[in-house]
């Protein structure tokens, strides 16, 4: 009689905390439902507390992987972008989050991994490796990568320069990049404040851009970053 074939989960011998830090994360039944429920709650809070509105949702590609880039003013930005996606898609959407900030202490780590489905991005020690991880993520069908190319939240509400990493990531690729602009986030939850304020929040989604004709070189990467920054700013 042939033996049964057992397939333990690949992260089987890791502790729950290690599993949260791990990326890519393996699907987990409870995490899936907790994330679904938490995202429903976050959407309700944004809608009621911040009178959240979305314009240009029809610009989001209906199939294939794509990147969403946006200005970064507050911790409300990633939940706002996730709220623009169908609820089912949040499990395949990954906001890139600073590993040194969102993947250190346990409560923040749990929120980042379970609710936001965040991808740890090492912006200090090894950004190139993180960009490679982003590229691998986009190779799988139906993934959404959420990036804030400024690299940090704005201190004064203005849009800072976009770092060239986004250019290196998508140059020469057919993956569409969707520019998004979030308005009101800086007033709602500026850097340094502990809790958000109930200010109006609007997300405008622009038409996707493709940079298949560009090379993975510094000049083209800088040009892509600048093009995307202009596209995001133009949505204001």
């Amino acid at each position: 009689m042939e033996s049964w074939h057992y397939e333990p989960t690949p992260d089987f011998d890791k502790t729950p905390i290690e599993r949260l830090r791990d990326f890519p994360r393996h699907p987990h039944f409870f995490v899936y439902w907790m994330r679904t429920f938490a995202n429903l709650v976050v959407r309700a809070i944004l809608r009621i507390g911040n009178r959240f509105e979305i314009a240009g949702r029809e610009n989001l590609p209906s199939s294939g992987s794509f990147v969403m880039v946006a200005n970064h003013a507050s911790h409300l930005d990633a939940p706002s972008l996730l709220a623009a996606l169908p609820l089912k898609q949040v499990h395949r959407a990954f906001p890139a989050a600073a590993a040194d900030y969102f993947f250190t202490n346990l409560p923040v780590l749990a929120f980042s991994a379970i609710v936001m489905n965040a991808m740890p991005f090492d912006r200090r020690e090894n950004p190139k490796q993180s960009i490679d991880a982003c590229r691998q993520l986009l190779e799988s069908e139906g993934h959404v990568l959420i990036l804030f190319p400024e690299g940090t939240r704005t201190a004064d509400g203005s849009i800072g320069p976009f770092k060239p990493g986004i250019g290196f990531l998508i140059a020469g690729s057919a993956i569409p990049v969707v520019p998004c602009h979030i308005r009101g986030a800086w007033k709602a939850w500026p850097k340094g404040n502990w809790i958000p304020r109930p200010r109006k929040l609007t997300l405008t989604i622009g038409k996707p851009l493709v940079f298949a004709d560009k090379q993975r070189v510094k000049d083209d990467a800088l040009a892509i970053a600048e093009t995307l920054r202009s596209a995001v700013a133009a949505l204001d």
Binding site: H5, Y6, F12, T15, H28
Partner: protein, 311 residues
């Protein structure tokens, strides 16, 4: 279960176990100061520090909290089993077993619709019928036959063994002497494991079941049984309503059942090819590694007590 601090059995166990934790902690500290290697002991001790206080907190807050505690423990243990066997990929089967395990907690917590006393015993006994029937329905709903027997079998084992048999602990909260029974089991079963380990280390050379658990020895097994047979007399305050026959049966159930529970999980681990069922508690493996002996003991002790003295 009401007002834990007014219950002398709860108080006695609290003092004994907290005392043991303090003594063991002091001993490890002294050995450490004497530059002895206590890493292994410290890991095991730290695990107990995480496990014992939640038990007392759950019992302190009463019947429903204790049932919720055991249900969460049962769900966690089942998830480890599902992650180890690969069953975790089948979310349909998973959902049915999870609902089944929650149902064990619910029927333990609710009143019997007929007699209006705490705990719906008839439904607890009938639950396997409904859950197994629901598991069998899944491939039919999916209209799929290929490769279905394995997830069906794993789900049935997962529910009956980890959910339902272990879930008898939840129902024990409805007993008149719930503190005595639960605290005795939660104290005696790990002690049985520790006795088997200690006797095996000191006297053991003949392997007990080398193909299942190579570290277990006949000496460890007999030593553990001896300790478990003596223990009911040593902590007789736990069950004043027990006569000699019940005390002997309690000793046999814990002494033999505990070891069989341990070996049962070892059979699964050996077959799958893993060392531990998880990594939740450092130095103790997974939750299933910790409660494995209780799974066997809980229903046997439950039915023995119900038959001889009534719950």
């Amino acid at each position: 279960m009401s007002d834990a601090l007014q219950n002398p059995i709860f108080r006695d166990y609290f003092v004994v176990l907290m005392g043991l934790l303090v003594v063991a902690g002091t001993l490890i500290l002294v050995l450490r100061l004497l530059h002895k290697n206590v890493d292994h002991a410290w890991k095991a001790y730290r695990g107990w520090l995480f496990m014992i206080p939640p038990v007392f907190v759950a019992l302190y807050f009463g019947r429903v909290t204790t049932i919720v505690f055991f249900t969460l423990l049962s769900l966690s243990a089942f998830f480890e089993f599902a992650r180890a066997t690969g069953l975790y990929r089948d979310w349909g089967m998973l959902s049915v077993v999870i609902l089944g395990i929650i149902s064990v907690g619910v029927v333990s917590a609710m009143d019997d619709p007929g007699t209006k006393v705490h705990g719906w015993y008839g439904m607890l006994m009938a639950l396997p019928v409904y859950v197994v029937a629901a598991i069998m329905m899944i491939p039919i709903i999916r209209d799929r036959a290929k490769g279905q027997l394995q997830p069906i079998a794993l789900s049935v084992v997962g529910f009956i063994y980890i959910g339902w048999m272990f879930g008898h602990l939840s129902y024990l909260t409805n007993a008149k002497n719930a503190y005595g029974y639960l605290l005795y089991l939660l104290f005696a079963v790990p002690l049985n494991d520790i006795a088997a380990f200690t006797f095996g280390r000191i006297f053991g050379n003949r392997k007990f079941r080398p193909n299942i658990s190579p570290n277990k020895t006949w000496a460890g097994s007999i030593g553990a049984l001896a300790v478990s047979m003596a223990l009911p007399w040593l902590v007789r305050f736990s069950f004043p309503e027990f006569g000699t026959a019940e005390l002997i049966l309690t000793g046999i159930i814990v002494g033999i059942g505990g070891q069989l529970g341990d070996l049962t999980i070892s059979v699964m681990k050996r077959d799958i090819g893993i060392k531990d069922m998880g990594a939740v508690i450092e130095g103790h493996g997974g939750i299933l590694d910790r409660v494995d002996s209780l799974i066997y003991v809980a229903p046997l002790f439950f039915h023995m007590t119900r038959y001889f003295v009534g719950l």
